[in-house]
Amino acid sequence: MITLLYFARLRESFGLSSEQANLPADVADVRSLTEWLRQRGGAWQEELAQDSPVRVAVNQDMADPDTTVHDGDEVAFFPPVTGG
């Protein structure tokens, strides 16, 4: 079970700010997790398209596609930041 968080445009597109998910055995890193979410189709497919600039944080640290994902992790998806 991991916690998934969505922020800003993604939160609105998905109509969801967070969810708990049981990952399939073959989802072990950010790349495969993103691919798994993309297969939900619709907004998921669009927002998480391979050329999209979506950022991912694992346990509140910026991650890259190779970052591993474990049970109990908090994984957040969001657009490039625009604060300040």
């Binding site: 922020f7 800003a8 600039p53 944080a57 930041v81 625009t82 604060g83 300040g84």
Partner: protein, 153 residues
Amino acid sequence: MTVRIQTEDFDLGAEILHLRRGNTGIGAVASFVGLVRDLNHGTTITEMTLEHYPGMTEKALAEIVEEAKRRWNIIDALVIHRIGPLKPTDQIVLVAVSGAHRGDAFAACEFIMDYLKTRAPFWKKEQTEAGAHWVDARESDETAAQRWIAPST
């Protein structure tokens, strides 16, 4: 080193006084205030909403401030970032850095702002007369942050 995320406004003068308090070795305080402009790319802004990632925001800002402290000879630093709905001319962010000398205070203050703009999880949604939209990240902010990747002098 203080990092605060808040919906309330802040008082620049009072914050700087507090930052300075009790340290008679401070010769320089550099500060920056970011404000909501009423125009962005030619569109009139009526309101803006700032969303953030609670927990990660504080962590990211604390790391940026720690990095500034490693790189420059500074005494203290303060970051305040507002969230929630804001109107044109409202204050968004304050970064203030104290030090013995001005060069380090200026550099650390600008560094913190540049990194905050590209690495702290905040997102702006602008309300215009034509509707609401999420603000796109600006390439010039990434360029500004990249400058600091080379070792600083």
